[in-house]
């Protein structure tokens, strides 16, 4: 698969422009009830060592048995990444001694991963996109958690997380700046959440990224890379790349060379620091795990999973643009988070006339609702205005019962007090006045009372807006704006 790499933002150094080359390894915890090779629960936040099977604790004679649900999730993810699914893959042992690995090895996939090459399209500022290649996706066991703050003399080990299934998703080195990197993780996370294969919760560590960064003169040979480990925030990923790229450029421009090493990002200081050098790197002595047979399934198994995949963000976006006439930007905003898309589609379901009001609904979700939610620091799932309520508000506008201005007042009432928008409109007399006779009287009164303004408006038709404002004011905002406009045009003769 060839992907045309989108040039990124170049960094100016003393010797000219530099290009950053970034590749990422994202570890995504598979959504499954039990662990990759044992029946223990994957639930987060249990008492330490309460979700541990004999296999997880590496008791003598215990054997791993693959959890088919995890395989299914990996294949579904591969399909979501437009990737090649390998019908035969192999589990290997990655050997190392550390208390986070009771077996003394991690079961992973080394030479033959379950998913091969794929690609995803990521959204950049200003409606631009970039296509990022996927190198592979493989399944592996998560490690145990070490607690160093429980005792002055000892470290404690919590095996709850040990053996939980992870998908390691490796990108090609197609990412060219921090913005693309952030967009990549954002998009990847979105796809995983749409698929339901990973909850994408970065705070709980369900999604973490190792970021490989190197710099070079544009188009020149690749530089030596450094790997920044265990990033669990999209913003930190951006900051770490910016810092690391500048650090490397400064070293090279000062005549130094980059040491290939593993680094950690310190969010407090905003800098990366060395964790271990290449010389200290482990020799993991990978070899095929003799306790497990190669993982094999049929193409029809894959086809079946493919047929049952949910609509993914790109498809959904295209559909919103095509069938509802949304702008690519609006459609992009709505599909970015699965919950937003679900909310918007629930609003659509509640509309009386989707074709008429679908676009209006998008505006309301994005501008009024998201704006207000952001201001109040709420997530979409905690929105005080339900999708059904918003659908009712939008329908009231669409059918001409209330004006957009009144709708904002109504939205405010629903936000703070709740209630059925239609009933509120009735009960509080918020209905738009479409009785032409009533509006005409108001118009006549205002024209009669303001002859100077009439003269001005006749000379300069744009000034008719003043009359519109006056009419709306006197009618308490309830006059139908279209009717007011039409009447004014006739009466003023403009």
């Amino acid at each position: 698969m060839t992907v045309s790499v989108k040039p990124g933002k170049l960094i100016k150094g003393q010797t000219g422009d530099w290009e950053v080359v970034i590749g990422m390894e994202v570890h995504a915890q598979v959504t499954s009830k039990s662990k990759l090779f044992s029946g223990a629960s994957t639930e987060f936040g249990g008492e330490p060592n309460s979700h541990v099977s004999l296999v997880d604790a590496a008791m003598p004679g215990m054997l791993p048995v693959i959890n088919e649900e995890c395989v299914k999730q990996a294949v579904r993810t591969g399909l979501g990444l437009n990737a090649k699914i390998n019908l035969r893959s192999v589990f290997d042992r990655k050997n190392y001694f550390y208390p986070d690995s009771p077996q003394g090895y991690q079961i992973s996939q080394y030479k033959s991963p379950v998913v091969g090459e794929g690609e995803i399209v990521v959204e950049l500022d200003g409606g631009r996109t970039a296509t990022i290649g996927i190198e592979r996706l493989h399944l592996e066991q998560d490690a145990a958690k070490l607690l160093h703050d429980q005792s002055p003399t000892m470290s404690c080990v919590d095996l709850n997380r040990c053996g939980v299934a992870l998908m390691e998703i490796v990108s090609k080195p197609d990412i060219r700046d921090a913005e693309q990197a952030k967009a990549y993780v954002t998009k990847l996370r979105s796809i995983l959440r749409y698929l339901g294969t990973c909850d994408g919760d970065m705070e709980k560590g369900s999604l973490r990224a190792d970021v490989n960064v190197s710099v070079r003169k544009p188009g020149g040979p690749l530089g030596t890379r450094c790997e920044i480990k265990n990033m669990n925030s999209i913003n930190f990923i951006g900051q770490a790349i910016e810092y690391e790229a500048r650090r490397q450029i400064e070293i090279i421009e000062d005549g130094g060379t980059i040491d290939q090493e593993t680094r950690l990002f310190d969010p407090n200081k905003g800098e990366t620091r060395s964790m271990r050098s290449k010389e200290e790197a482990h020799d993991y002595r990978y070899f095929p795990d003799p306790d497990l047979l190669p993982l094999e399934f049929t193409q029809s198994y894959v086809d079946e999973l493919k047929a049952k995949l949910p609509e993914l963000p790109d498809q959904k976006k295209a559909r919103f643009i095509e069938s509802l006439g949304l702008s690519p930007y609006d459609a992009g905003v709505l599909v970015a988070e699965r919950e937003s898309a679900v909310f918007y589609e629930t609003v659509l379901d509640g509309l009386a006339d989707k074709a008429r009001d679908g676009k209006l609904a998008a505006n309301w979700v994005i501008n009024e609702l998201f704006g207000r939610l952001n201001k109040e620091g709420h997530g979409i799932t905690a929105s005080p205005v339900s999708a059904a309520q918003l659908a009712a508000i939008v329908s009231l506008i669409g059918e001409g019962t209330i004006s957009g201005k009144i709708a904002k007042d109504l939205f405010e009432i629903v936000w703070t007090e709740g209630g059925d928008p239609r009933e509120l409109v009735e009960a509080r007399g918020m209905k738009q006045v479409t009785d032409l006779g009533a509006i005409e009287k108001v118009v006549d009164d205002i024209i009669a009372a303001n002859p100077d303004k009439v003269a001005q408006a006749k000379a300069k038709p744009q000034l008719a807006g003043w009359f519109v404002g006056q009419v709306m004011k006197q009618s308490g905002g309830k006059a139908n704006p279209q009717a007011v406009n039409d009447l004014l045009k006739t009466k003023l003769g403009i």
Binding site: L54, A57, A58, M59, P60, G61, M62, L63, P64, V65, I66, R93, N95, F97, Y98, P99, P102, Q103, G104, Y105, S155, V157, D283, R285, Y286, F287, P290, D291, L292, L293
Partner: protein
């Protein structure tokens, strides 16, 4: 009552069914024999209370006519099998007094079928050895001695305790495991019958792992029939072991006495080693003649990659072992020798907990898997393994039913006699048996005669995958022709 211990499983089964004696009587006879034979060091843990309790339970069942296929039969269990609430150590210091809260699949099937556990049997540490001298509980003594000599001989290994106990009438049969010959070689050294089933025939769940792709559980018994009876209970698919195969378990005993007429038996030319003792050569020819007399056809066959099997085995097995034994780190169970850091804790624990041979193999295994050496050693050995497998496949494709070879290149040797200076001297014991593990095939060792010094020698039959039945039929022919051998009691 002591003569109860000389019964075969098949005979005891009849005696129990006809109420000639109870399982408790049979069990007590064996417990007494074990107590009297402690000098053999075959048992590392005797479980008399549990044995009697199990016997009583099964006696009650027999009385109601509910006994299983092994109802009331007292067995010994190799200490590699995890036994619930009973110390399991793999005869390594590093497991200390580890008591598993679980029962291995194979032993649980024996108890399901009514067998009685007498105790845990000695073995080479983590099953690494061919003489049972690497056990942290000390060497097992072979009940056999050279004629006119008091020299203490090894029973072979790694299932030395199993072989010695069965030969010395301390238990009616025993579980064992075979990674490179650990069932068949000790069986040959003690005039017992040992079966290494097809890889995947018995579950490995709950058996302390040595080399996962080679390890296989099997029985050691005093007759071919007894080994077939035990096999039926030990074998079977286990969803907890992905490498166990879902094929129905046949009635192996029905294969005993089945005609071998017309079967083509391969005699592999590559097993004729330079400097092989004449008596081994003679034994082999004799075995061939017995099978011929029973109607089988003998065919010379070629297994051209045989000579690479041992070196390849000593790469693959230690590689897997180095990884399998990484879990013994002093953190969760077994021995812990503290240190100032986690690294020191590991080093101290493993240095103190593992014996020399285990350490040697862990180091070999670590080396052959290391970056830069993997391709030259491990990968190459795996390729050799494929070729060895193909040798057998080609042979079986030509209509060969089974292959006849000597079980070992010599009879039992003295304690401390071999491998002291050069471990390869010890490794050569497995020269005829490792190919079978490398190819995942079933093999049986059957007593076939004695050497000039009166020590037992065995023949090996190698079968097609999952065709243990043919091995039982052929083994029975050998046993009928050679007779049975019991060591004179001196202990």
């Amino acid at each position: 009552m002591t003569d109860l211990t000389s019964l075969t499983i098949a005979e005891a089964r009849e005696g129990l069914a006809s109420k000639s004696f109870t399982s408790l009587e049979l069990t007590n006879a064996h417990l007494a024999a074990i107590e009297a034979a402690r000098s053999l060091n075959a048992f590392v843990l005797e479980t008399p209370d549990q044995a009697r309790a199990m016997a009583r339970t099964v006696d009650a069942k027999i009385a109601k006519g509910e006994g299983g296929p092994l109802a009331g039969i007292p067995l010994g269990i190799k200490d590699l099998f995890a036994t619930k609430d009973v110390r399991t150590t793999a005869c390594s210091k590093i497991l200390g007094n580890f008591v598993p809260p679980y029962e291995s699949t194979v032993t649980s099937q024996l108890w399901r079928d009514g067998a009685v556990m007498l105790g845990k049997l000695n073995n080479d540490e983590f099953a690494m050895g061919s003489s049972n001298e690497t056990s942290c509980f000390g060497p097992v003594v072979n009940p056999w001695r050279r004629e006119g000599s008091n020299t203490t001989l090894v029973p072979g290994g790694s299932s030395g305790g199993s072989a010695s106990a069965v030969a010395a009438l301390l238990c009616m049969g025993a579980t064992a495991t075979d990674t490179g010959g650990s069932i068949r070689q000790p069986a040959a050294f003690t005039a017992t019958v040992g079966v290494k089933p097809t890889y995947g025939r018995c579950s490995r769940w709950g058996i302390v792992a040595f080399a996962s792709s080679l390890d296989q559980a099997g029985p050691i018994a005093r007759t071919v029939r007894d080994s077939a009876i035990l096999m039926r209970s030990m074998a079977g698919h286990d969803p907890k072991d992905t490498t166990s195969v879902d094929i129905g378990v046949p009635d192996y005993e029905a294969a005993i006495g089945k005609s071998v007429k017309g079967m083509k038996i391969g005699i592999p030319r590559e097993y004729r080693l330079d400097g092989m003792p004449a008596e081994i050569e003679k034994l082999w020819a004799e075995g061939a003649a017995w099978l011929k007399a029973a109607g089988a056809e003998l065919v010379e066959v070629s297994l051209p990659h045989t000579k690479y099997a041992l070196p390849a085995y000593y790469i693959v097995a230690p590689a897997e072992a180095s990884s399998n034994l990484a879990r013994y780190d002093g953190v969760r169970y077994g021995l812990r020798v503290p240190g100032r850091s986690i690294g020191e804790l590991y080093e101290n624990t493993r240095a103190e907990g593992f014996g020399d041979e285990v350490r040697r193999r862990v180091m070999i295994g670590t080396y052959v898997l290391s970056a830069g050496y993997y391709d030259a050693y491990y990968l190459r050995a795996q390729k050799v393994r494929t070729l060895i497998k193909r040798d057998f496949e080609d042979c079986f494709a030509k209509g060969i039913s089974a292959i006849l070879t000597p079980a070992t290149p010599s009879a039992a040797f003295g304690v401390g006699e071999k491998g002291g200076a050069d471990p390869v001297e010890m490794y050569l014991n497995d020269i005829f048996t490792v190919t079978v593990n490398m190819a995942g095939l079933p093999g049986i060792a059957v007593p076939a005669g004695k050497d000039a010094q009166g020590l037992p020698l065995g023949l090996q039959l190698i079968g097609r995958p999952f065709d243990e039945e043919t091995l039982f039929s052929l083994g029975e022919v050998v046993e009928q022709a050679a007779g049975r051998f019991t060591p004179p009691r001196w202990w």
